[in-house]
Symmetry: C2
Subunit: 341 residues, 2 copies
Amino acid sequence: MRVSLKDVAERAGVSIKTVSNVVNNYQHITPAMRARVQHAIDELGYRPNLTARHLRKGRTGIIALALPELANPYYAELAGAVIDVAAEHDYTVLIDVTGGRRRQEAQVGQGFRARVTDGIILSPLELRPEDLRNRDDDAPLVLLGERGDGVPYDAVAIDNVAAARTAVRHLTGLGRRRVAFLGGRTDDTAHPAHLRLRGWREVLATQGVEAPDHLIAPTNGWDRADGAEAMTRLLDTDEPPDAVFAYNDLLAIGALRVLSQRGVRVPEDMAVMGFDDIAESRFGAITLTTIAPDKRAIARLAIESILTRLQDPDRGPDSLRRGELRPEYRLMERESTLGRG
Amino acid sequence: MRVSLKDVAERAGVSIKTVSNVVNNYQHITPAMRARVQHAIDELGYRPNLTARHLRKGRTGIIALALPELANPYYAELAGAVIDVAAEHDYTVLIDVTGGRRRQEAQVGQGFRARVTDGIILSPLELRPEDLRNRDDDAPLVLLGERGDGVPYDAVAIDNVAAARTAVRHLTGLGRRRVAFLGGRTDDTAHPAHLRLRGWREVLATQGVEAPDHLIAPTNGWDRADGAEAMTRLLDTDEPPDAVFAYNDLLAIGALRVLSQRGVRVPEDMAVMGFDDIAESRFGAITLTTIAPDKRAIARLAIESILTRLQDPDRGPDSLRRGELRPEYRLMERESTLGRG
DNA sequence: ATGAAAGCGCTAACAA
DNA sequence: TTGTTAGCGCTTTCAT
């Protein structure tokens, strides 16, 4: 059996409390006593039982991070950032993969899945605001992505609409007149794809550039294969676009693959933009221009939100824009849009 | 405050034990009693406190997975597989990122980092066998990757030497005479890079093909940039290779990027092989031939090893090859080695 | 079939 | 400065 405080206390000939004091680095212990207890601890190889400690204190030192999937490098990179930042605060991260399914996301939000965590960072895809109503979990929750109206939690998200505008303006600034959108999704207005689509619409509207619905290529998923499939469809229309703005880098990379196979020159015949700035974007035969959200800042804001509420549980959603925390983003110009084409 | 068993018991007018019985789906409860208790549970919105349960039972339902990094898609994909398999057994996965640093890996192995887990899956990069001596953590440990001799733990790993032989034979079978190895590492004989390098040596030796040391291109890391840098060096030698076998896909992808920039045709002038079969390999301008370890099988063997030892703590390392569990691997032939070049 | 009570390992009042 | 004790919420003998 594992050695407990009691065993150490017996060994050192002191009380349990004294040992606990030493373990927790309490102030008022005589050096001699500390040394004696430490000796017993080392001898017995004692290590605290976190479960017991948690039961008593109500803290585990674990933060849950719920993501749609790890196969998308954006989420993997984001997870890495969260893990780094959490480690700086002596927190461990437990990763929960939701598959982007609404039911699973709602369960995470309710704290039903990872129930041993001090806080929850949830990156939803299909979650609706009402799924968070009557949440009776006491662990602080912070959302990654735009939150719906009236959701009383912090939400960390870049301004997707503005970022999309930046991206599309870059394309029209290159002289492109037929800018397609890859990954359109018309149904769910809270989905990031919808917000980016809106940015696309807005720019094209103000510039008097043609923005008809047939330049929107919807996709089933958000992976490379979906991008390839959608690009193929666009190329097979009567009037193919001269630029595409993809919902994310993965779709854009799938598109680049098809363009390469079909012999369409990038960026000369077709400028391509992604979104996410995953590492892969910097190493294809043609590197990908993309919007780079500040992942480190996202992680920092999320962790800070949780730590703040852990200290002050009654605190509501935070300051800026009614609880919306806005990390920065940058446009990374690379080969896929280089020159004037 | 949160509602506990006691609250439910009071509400239903029964004892704590009876409520516990209902919650745990015990056998001998009258339907009437069950209904009554369930009603109180629903009314109060009771949810069991896992921490307390675990303090009592000694299990958390959490398995730790320690990986060098998440930025490498191979690890991200592997983590996804582990999470899936764990979920099938009602286990949650806590991911720990070691950065591939020996000290961190040793701490994970000792159970010092994630101390609330029922078992530990450790994928080491720099860990030495001696770091696992005198391990005094009671949680079952399983290693991902070849274990050193005399390490009394299960280790799940494909046969790296054999897989490398398969890869290099594929290249020589194409008629290539100067097959370089990208990512050589000469110092650490336990490192997977060393094992793959050994496979490379063995094949070239038996085929009477030139295998001089200047065809080994060492790299500092295992990322795309390192591959690009090493490929550049190889191209700038007097007699560049006509094929390269990279330690992993990331290095190979970096190499492909350089080849594309330099106008070297792949596979005509240069055949390229990777290792890992990350999703990215299937979507470049030139898709990458690679060795595909069965990630799902790796995850399954690792989880099963832990579950087995959880049931029978005294059980030693398992059956096959003294504790080495051997998942399968396949050669995925793609464009980067297609045809006879 | 249900109840009473002990105790998992720890922390935090309170006492000394 | 150190010791005693109660109790976090649960499961689990042992009674009934």
